[in-house]
Amino acid sequence: MSSVCFYFQVHQPYRVKKYRFFDIGKDHNYFNDNSETSLNNSRIMERVSRKAYLPTNKLLLELLNRHPEFKISFSFSGIYLDQLEKEFPEVLESFQKLVATGRAEVLGETYYHSLSFLYSPSEFKAQVLAHKKKIQKLFSVTPKVFRNTELIYNNDLAQAVEKMGYVGILAEGADRILEWRSPNFLYQPKGTQKIKLLLKNYRLSDDIAFRFSEKSWKDYPLTAEKFSHWVSSHNGNGEVMNLFMDYETFGEHQWEDSGIFKFLEALPEHILSHPDNDFVTPSESCARYSPKGELDFNDFVSWADEERDLSAWRSNPLQNDALEQIYALENEVISTKNKALIEDWRRLQTSDHFYYMCTKWFADGDVHKYFNPYESPYDAFISYMNVLHDIKLRVQELCVPLREGRTQKSIK
């Protein structure tokens, strides 16, 4: 049997607007850019909804109705869902319809699409729990399989997530970990008892997500027939093909005129035309297949860039400084019990902010540049640090009256 397991990541950050030093202490709205630039979050949500989310959801619902064997899964960041609830209810409804079919599983992640696991176990847990509640509220389901931000993963994460009750966890099928092994089986994370590891087949996934419209690629144009043939050819030496990708692949990264929707529309039929193929969701995969061995991820692996490590978010001093400073505020911010402040502080943990500060692409790739709404990584850092400055001031303002109150009492 060869099962295909689709997982789509659905996320949009709250990008920080151009926030100047002069705004500190005066303006606490960090995410409300209303310009014509790509810092305008509503504008981006509107565009991507129109080009990608709505048409893809419509298509997937048709496909689920047409093929009872077709299955998919999603992971939504909490802040993505917040943005839908606030401004795009019709998009949220279309996702709810998909989930209501019972054949679109929803995975667990951190509410703020954050790197909190790298910095604060308590913050990580709080965000996973908040996310779980959000999914229960909006979709009436409880996530059973976990995927961490950008598929960042190591042994410790698997162990922590197992303790939180998840039956499966997703990771990148990086060659340096797999070596001779195939990503098309389930594995046992080192140091765990029950939780199962699902690995992304990055060749097949990236054929769709990155290479689909690349005319210089030897397999261009990619057809559903060709792709299904590749999938079927794994029969006998693999149990599950994990196709993990950003949901924006359909309509935003690969535009409609590339033929991506036609490809997606024809894919289930072609996959299912081979009698030994079917579709599974991640939790079904965990229930059906047994691990083929233990895998040891000592170092962190992610699905970002060629390096597949943490370098997209943590490879220069700016990124490290910003990350250390935001997490250093944890105790103070939480102790204020001020909801608005805590929310802003958490939104600032979203991994995208640090991705925008990456300078790796100066030397090579241009993927970062494409996804960077700031003119330069330095500009991203400056706005971010100015905002952080304002957060610190707010913390002080909330703490000072408290301290004064106490002193007065003790004087009495």
Binding site: F22, N316, D321, F362, F381
Partner: protein, 404 residues
């Protein structure tokens, strides 16, 4: 090569560029007859020693031919007349009475050299030498390359073009076999304002001479200001409209509202100097603005090393060599987007010259956020290494190669 005087006697980027390119070409195996104007000193004994009319000095493979002339790369009609007024009777007899006359006289002297020497190509740097290049081409029939470092558009900030200068620039560009522009920015200006076919223009970005010696911080005059906890924000360049020193002062006033312990160093000289001094008084920031006068190479390296940030608010900057210098010498850079250099460097901050709020915000960010300052410093130093004069010279020679 019709070029300009080398450091340490130059004033500005053109001399540096000529030196960098000439040395780079020699490294690549070319030999050069370098023709340059040089001011005849009043003292006749010194004249004979160094600056004789037919002085031939041979250093490595560069043969220098000096034409006595008071021309300087940044001369304007007014500044030329003023210069001539200061001069003695002897000088006025030799030189042209106006800048126009002197440029024509220089071209005719150049044509004499062009007859005597042997060469395969002619390489002229900026308008003052274009006529000389055209003359040489007429005589020898050899291909002419005009190297455009700055245009009248840059010098006037897009304002009143001097018709005489503009006409020579245009003639040079039209009669040249190929134009070498020092940036895409300059190429665009040549296309837009001089009506030249884009196909005729090649881009060769400038390079940088790596800094070798260590700077002794103890010697600096500004050292004590820095010691007492002041930040140093640097402007370095001619005080002309083109370089945007007035925008620098506007930014200074804004930054001082938030960072009172900051000193704004204005290194340079030029026709706007008096205006800038009074402007800083009007803005109420004169005690925070230090004018150093024109700085020589070593002194400049010292102020780069001392500055917390170097700001280049140019209104129109064909390239901006000082940006590469500063990147190499260790001061983080904020450069206007209206510059050629901003096309090729990544580890600097960029801003539109008119956007004072943005400029001030970025200056404050560098002063406030240590991680930003350090990364700009360290990454820029690495990046500067990739822009060498050797590379620029090689590219010129490749262009020439198609013609001989």
């Amino acid at each position: 090569m019709f070029g300009w005087e080398f450091p340490p006697h130059y004033s500005g980027g053109l001399g540096v560029a000529c030196e960098g390119l000439a040395n780079g070409m020699v490294e690549c195996g070319a030999s050069i007859v370098f023709v340059l104007p040089k001011r005849m000193p009043v003292n006749p004994s010194r004249m004979r020693l160094v600056f004789a009319d037919d002085d031939k000095t041979e250093i490595s493979l560069i043969k220098y031919k000096i034409i006595p002339s008071p021309l300087s790369p940044y001369a304007s009609s007014a500044s030329y007349l003023e210069e001539m007024k200061k001069n003695t009777l002897i000088e006025t007899k030799i030189y042209g009475g106006t800048l126009a006359e002197e440029v024509l006289r220089y071209a005719s002297r150049a044509s004499r050299i062009a007859q005597e020497e042997e060469y395969d190509i002619i390489h002229s740097h900026d308008w003052l030498t274009f006529l000389a290049g055209i003359e040489a081409k007429k005589i020898s029939g050899k291909p002419l390359f005009v190297h455009v470092h700055a245009t009248e558009y840059d010098r006037t900030g897009g304002g009143n073009f001097n018709e005489f200068v503009y006409a020579i620039e245009k003639e040079g560009m039209e009669k040249a076999d190929k134009i070498i522009a020092i940036s895409q920015y300059t190429k665009d200006i040549i296309i837009k304002y001089y009506g030249i076919d884009p196909e005729k223009i090649e881009i060769v970005h400038n390079g940088i001479e790596m800094f070798k010696e260590c700077v002794d911080m103890g010697k600096q005059k500004l050292h004590s200001l820095k010691e007492s906890g002041n930040h140093i924000v640097l402007f370095l360049g001619r005080f002309t409209i083109q370089k945007g020193p007035d925008y620098f002062l506007a930014m200074a006033r804004r930054v001082l509202e938030y960072m009172p312990k900051t000193i704004f160093v204005m290194a340079g000289s030029g026709d706007m100097e008096r205006m800038l001094v009074s402007r800083s008084a009007e803005l109420g920031i004169s005690e925070k603005v230090v004018f150093t006068g024109f700085l020589r190479e070593k002194e400049r390296d010292e102020v780069y090393a001392m500055a917390d940030i170097f700001v280049v608010p140019s209104v129109s900057e064909p390239f901006g060599l000082t940006v590469l210098e500063s990147m190499d010498r260790g001061a983080p850079v904020l450069v206007s987007k209206q510059s050629g250099v901003s096309e090729i460097v990544q580890n600097v901050l960029k801003v539109n010259f008119w956007d004072i709020e943005e400029m001030s915000d970025k200056v404050i960010a560098v002063l406030k956020y240590g991680a930003l300052k350090n990364q700009l410093k360290n990454y820029a130093r690495q990046e500067a290494k990739s822009h060498s004069w050797h590379k620029a010279a090689q590219k010129c020679l490749e262009i020439f190669g198609k013609y001989c």
